[in-house]
Symmetry: C2
Subunit: 257 residues, 2 copies
């Protein structure tokens, strides 16, 4: 059984390729049907779900580890990734689930095994195009699925707190870095962009003020095209003006002082 082999190999040989004590957890946000979604893995040997995560190769930049983990779960490259916090509570206890696993799989693993040690976990959040993602489970899980941010299932360890922290950070960053580019299709309408903001911020925004503010950033290009086949008045399509978008990101959007 391939899964068994792979899990056993990770337990027994992981310490040769990964650095110990440090893991990575990714909160992958997507947007679909006007809802903010998070990509989760159903654990094999527990009823809870888990964040896509992994370990850091001995000579790998931590950012690259996160990127690698993300590519494996989504099939996407060039993902928008942002480190947001490192979780260092000794009682996060990655061990509980790991112990359950070796018990279920009846792998012969000493208590000193690297995976049974305490882990500090570096949290990254990612913004991805929901449609483009091909959710792919890993060897420690039975499936990989999107979950509405408002209806998250039971999650292992402190993963729920990690999601909450990621969302808080994303909300903060929203003021500095317009995120639509990463979460929407190439072409989108203003109402769609607004729904995205409303969903992330979990509050209603004024239609007209939102439009004015977005336009004022000067990073959007309004197309002559309109969204077809929808009920009511057909809205205009927009795309990000990548040149101006990246320039604005570099210069920063807001400073107050």
């Amino acid at each position: 059984m391939a899964v068994f082999k792979k899990v056993e190999e990770t337990f027994l040989k992981g310490h040769k390729v990964f650095i110990p004590s440090v893991s990575i957890d990714c909160v992958i946000f997507g947007f679909h049907n006007n809802q903010l979604k998070v990509l989760l893995l159903k654990t094999l040997y527990a009823k809870e779900w888990a964040l896509p995560g992994g370990f850091i190769l001995k000579e790998e930049h931590v950012d690259d580890s996160a990127k690698r983990i993300l590519e494996e779960r989504t099939g996407l490259q060039d993902i928008f990734l942002q480190q947001f916090y490192t979780f260092g509570d000794p009682k996060r206890s990655d061990q509980v689930y790991a112990r359950q696993m070796i018990k279920e799989l009846q792998i012969d693993v000493p208590i000193s095994n690297w995976l049974l040690q305490r882990f500090v976990s570096i949290g990254y959040y990612a913004l991805v195009d929901f449609e483009a993602v091909n959710p792919t489970r890993d060897f420690f899980s039975e499936s990989c699925d999107w979950h509405d941010i408002h209806e998250l299932p039971e999650m292992i360890m402190d993963h729920r707190a990690i999601v909450d922290q990621a969302l808080l950070t994303l909300r903060m960053h929203l003021n500095y870095h317009p995120v639509g580019y990463n979460l929407l299709q190439e072409k989108f309408t203003m109402p769609e962009l607004q729904k995205l903001y409303e969903t992330i911020l979990d509050q209603k925004l004024d239609r007209r003020n939102f439009q004015r503010k977005m336009v004022s950033y000067g990073i959007l290009k309004k197309l002559r095209e309109r969204r077809k086949g929808v009920a009511h008045k057909s809205p205009f399509l927009y795309v990000f003006d990548l040149k101006k978008y990246h320039k604005a990101l570099k210069d920063g959007f807001q400073t107050t002082w």
Copy 2:
């Protein structure tokens, strides 16, 4: 020689008490003579300076490790501490300096020694009362001193970049969390508070607008007392209204949306 003993012990027995692969670096900010200062350690076996840092005890919360490290260097408890980024470039190479040390001290250490491995470092910044600090060196350094943020000496590894990142983060946080409370004496004048802000932000601010804005936060108490013995008109003293200060911190100062 006590230093030798302690360093040797860390190399040889550190892996029994600390978790591997993870270190902590602290950027300790103080304010003195209208200048922003950073507390640095002069390394024993190199000409460069280093950030106060350390490792995480096996059962210790990472926040507590940072707190412990800070207490050891400053003699202060209850310090304002904020995790701001985790540095994970494999080429940060903590090893260079460690290797230099074992060469100088002629300690017999195998290449597999825990301290010669790659480290991921969690960055914390701290805001402390300059006057209250008693700078104390550790066993890897010959002295511990304040340095002006604008005149930093040569620093080991990526420590300079860590300081820069800490300062950037502090500037960002300034909009959300007024920091005067941690960096100034209990009683202070408005011009002193303004100097602090100007120093952190590295820009002049308008006297009158600054005062109005600060007062509008409603977290200061104006005393009847004035600063005595200074040239020119004596300025009023202020203290933080701790009750309102903490309430404001919890509620947040700014949200824009």
